[in-house]
């Protein structure tokens, strides 16, 4: 393994600063290296500790991050992980999430630079989610767990500092979103009546994996009354049917999150595939709900095969293909689900956690250098 001091020798690879928390934070903010929150100064010692859980060369890029196409080397990722407050054992998952979102179908350039408010959402599956104590239950998307908060934040810092998603320069989002600070959860596999997301997407159950989605924030779906699968699915489909979503215009892959209670009811008689089929068929709204300008300028032009002469009752589908709907079971007690539309021009990517020699990793300990 290369000596860290050697890697930091080239001009610009490191900087010297007084051991002063306030001063270093001021310096980082002035240089635009961060998300606005205080950072943990990435000293050589801390970065080296972070890299204890890296089984590859520290200066070999694992991906290039759009829109700057900056090289995401383990060394750079480790500095961002330290800044975010990660524990070293989180590091393999950070690397995996970055690799996944840099795969072509995800369209990281679009997700980063668009005026839309999307951010990469990372859903973790498999034994590593438990090992790292990633929240999948109550308040899974909210505060409280170090793994969710800091791995998600490290991803954002890498998107900013390596990918160049600088607001107004590389990130043109009209609004941004709180999910651009941190957006990482685990699926609540133990409370799910169905196969876990990573298994559904082709990986063995014993694998640990991330699925990344170019996602909006969550929209809550309240249904305290439905006692049947069809009832809950009808409520979810209704919430999916809105006029202002990007997903209307793409072959999009939006996410439906069911709480364990809703999932349990839906699973009585419905497989995941059947639930998706129901949602795709029922998540529609009549063309007449769209503004006349959208009908004339978009539907009748871009989708002319279907809508050139369609009347106001012609159905517009929230999602084009049932198989494109992603269902995950997340959360604690409560009769809620959530809908997460996407950027549209992005595909979800699932990637398994593997050691450098290509074996499925059962534990992050397998990445630890002796």
């Amino acid at each position: 393994m290369t000596d860290l001091a050697e890697l930091l020798r080239p001009a610009g690879a490191s900087l010297e600063a007084d051991d002063d928390f306030e001063g270093i934070n001021k310096l980082y903010l002035e240089r635009g290296w961060g998300d606005g929150l205080p950072i943990v100064p990435p000293t050589m010692q801390r970065v080296e500790q972070m890299l204890a859980y890296c089984d590859r060369p520290w200066n070999e890029p694992v991906a290039k991050m759009a829109p700057r196409y900056g090289e995401a080397t383990p060394l750079r990722l480790a500095a961002n992980a330290v800044m975010a407050g990660c524990r070293p054992e989180y590091f393999p998952l950070l690397v995996l999430a970055i690799e996944a979102m840099c795969e072509e179908p995800f369209n990281l350039y679009g997700v980063q630079a668009t005026t839309h408010l999307c951010a990469p959402l990372v859903i973790v599956n498999g034994p590593v989610a438990l090992e790292l104590d990633i929240n999948s239950g109550h308040n899974a998307f909210g505060p409280g767990r170090r793994a969710n908060a800091t791995i998600g934040r490290a991803i954002r810092l890498a998107l900013l500092n390596i990918g160049g998603a600088i607001p107004g320069t590389g990130d043109m989002s009209t609004f941004g979103a709180p999910s651009k600070y941190s957006y990482l959860v685990a699926e609540n596999e133990a409370a799910s009546p169905w196969e876990p997301l990573h298994v559904e997407r082709g990986l063995p159950r014993e694998a640990s994996a991330v699925t990344v989605i170019g996602a909006e924030c969550l929209h809550n779906i309240n249904d305290h009354e439905s006692l049947s699968a069809e009832g809950i699915l009808t409520t979810i489909a209704g919430t999916m049917s809105v006029t202002g979503s990007n997903d209307i215009y793409y072959e999009a892959q939006p996410l439906v999150i069911m709480s364990p209670e809703h999932a349990k009811t839906v699973a009585i008689g419905y497989s995941k595939a059947e639930a998706k089929r129901f949602l795709q068929e029922h998540a529609t709204l009549p063309l007449g709900k769209f503004s006349p300008e959208n009908i004339e300028r978009r539907f009748r032009v871009t989708f002319k095969e279907r809508y050139a002469k369609a009347g106001p009752d012609a159905p517009v589908f929230a999602v084009q293909r049932a198989g494109d709907i992603i269902i995950a079971v997340i959360g604690g007690a409560g009769k809620h689900s959530a809908y997460v539309p996407t950027f549209g021009a992005t595909k979800a990517v699932t990637r398994a956690l593997k050691t450098r020699d290509g074996r499925l990793a059962r534990s992050v300990a397998e990445f630890k250098r002796s």
């Binding site: 829109p67 700057r68 196409y69 630079a113 160049g164 107004g168 320069t169 590389g170 043109m172 300008e293």
Partner: protein, 72 residues
């Protein structure tokens, strides 16, 4: 576009005002920092055909200028 520029063709990216920084940064990223940006007013969405023509009238003189420069 950067590849065309590298081949010496007259090239430019049409860019509305708020996207100037993104355009300049991307040009640098792709190794053509001098890539011309043809600037037009924002927005692009929701324009009438007349307004689109208006944007074209802003862009055309800039394109003509690029061709003239290239011919020198």
């Amino acid at each position: 576009m950067s590849e065309l520029r590298k081949r010496g063709l007259v090239t430019a990216v049409i860019c509305s005002d708020p996207f100037l920084k993104l355009g300049k940064t991307q040009a640098k990223v792709f190794g053509v920092p001098d890539l011309p940006l043809v600037m037009i007013p924002h927005p692009l969405g929701g324009l009438s055909l007349e307004q689109v023509e208006g944007r074209a009238h802003v862009a055309i003189p800039q394109v003509v200028e690029l061709i003239k420069e290239h011919a020198k």
